[in-house]
Subunit: 249 residues, 2 copies
């Protein structure tokens, strides 16, 4: 019996954002692995074994998923959002690199609605022009690289989406991010704090960069910084399709 | 009777990537507007009027959608991919800005699977670390801004996803993009050409930057350039979660 390993994105929370192909993959699974908060979103049924694990155990989870698939199980690894954006797909390939005997496994990645696109849709269209996605956590990269990328993104006049802006373990780094943005961008630049998007606790707030405070973000917040042309229309925020107003520098 | 205007993303092609909320919006529509290639994907039924239009008529289409909603119709505007990424959501807000009498309309944006995430999932996880999305068309921005952003994205060591890399009307600009990448990145940098992703004509090819040729892209291609750490594992391409290998400059 040939096993399979499918890495899926459950979207940001609302079931109405889960693609039919992800629902079908879950319906065909014998084993579901993931961070406990995400496996809790999977409906239990006879024949399905759910393996919840801790947030920080991504590589161990990836190895276990590969081993189970190699034993002939139909394994689904769940991420929130999209599995290829700061989530489990890269961890699976890192583990696979260390387990070259399993390179021929049937592995598929199924995309999902990533947090920045769900947040942008709620706010209007702040990512309607060129943009960057940056993970602000320095768990897996030097903090200097975060600052380096921030400055290039700002100088390139990209809109920016920040994942993992702030956590209890590193509460002051987001203040530094705001400081760098204030050095690089004008005070009127629009910044959207989208918290718990597409869950019952959702809140979407847009302020000018001059009004931002570090407490506006936590680990459930997706932050979107507009480009120099991003503006409000009514209750919405959007980036125009056209940028014939000059290059940032 | 109060009308509504919903802007939806149909994903890159495969019906299995259309979210349930987008399917529900289409089921409740009285009018569907969009580029003819995308409205062709909507199932016809009694009570639904489909308004196909040309690719270049985005603002006129947006105005018409707003007018129909203001008349009490339930209007759905369709984009491929995600409507907030180089698509109709920004055009709707541009039109709304010119029609301030309609600011209180019931307008919603529903996200979809954008081409870069569908392409990345097919290739592996090349966008698994910080990345940029850049529209290479200069229809709506000066070409110098494209070059400016490209250089900042490369110097920030972002992975990059290019939308609209090449068209009949501007066949040589993609050669210039490759030239800039060769100046900024090492020849072994991995570049994925994902054509017609999630359609019957899909093809996914990954080569080194040194092997790229401008003819490898056309208007149906989504190009993904890895960061300096992006690598192959078996038949996949992925960007590791960790970047503790040094800052680009």
């Amino acid at each position: 019996m040939n096993g399979s390993l499918i890495v899926v994105g459950l979207g940001p929370g609302d079931e109405a954002l889960i693609t039919p192909e992800v629902s079908a993959a879950l319906a065909g699974a014998t084993d579901v692995l993931g961070y406990a908060v995400y496996t809790a979103r999977v409906t239990r049924r006879p024949g399905l074994t759910v393996h919840p694990s801790d947030n920080r155990e991504e590589l161990a989870r990836a190895r276990r998923a590969i081993m189970l698939a190699a034993e002939g199980r139909h394994v689904v690894v769940v991420s929130s959002g999209d599995p290829g954006v700061f989530a489990m797909a890269s961890a699976i390939f890192e583990a696979l690199e260390q387990m070259p005997g399993h390179l021929e496994l049937d592995i598929r990645i199924l995309p999902g609605i990533t947090a920045m696109l769900a947040a942008a849709a709620r706010a209007g269209a702040p990512l309607g022009h060129d943009f960057c996605a940056i993970n602000l956590s320095d768990n897996l990269k030097p903090w200097e690289l975060v600052e380096h990328r921030l400055r290039h993104a700002a100088r390139g006049d990209f809109a920016m989406a920040f994942y993992n802006p702030r956590s209890k373990g590193r509460p002051h780094q987001f203040a530094r991010v705001l400081e760098i943005l204030r050095e690089e961008c004008e005070p009127a630049r629009l910044v959207t704090f989208a918290r718990a998007v597409r869950t019952p606790e959702e809140s979407i707030v847009t302020v000018s960069l001059g009004e931002t405070r570090e407490e506006m973000a936590d680990m459930r917040t997706l932050v979107i910084v507009g480009n120099s042309a991003t503006r409000r229309v009514g209750r919405f925020v959007y980036s125009p399709r056209s940028a014939f107003t000059g290059v940032a520098e």
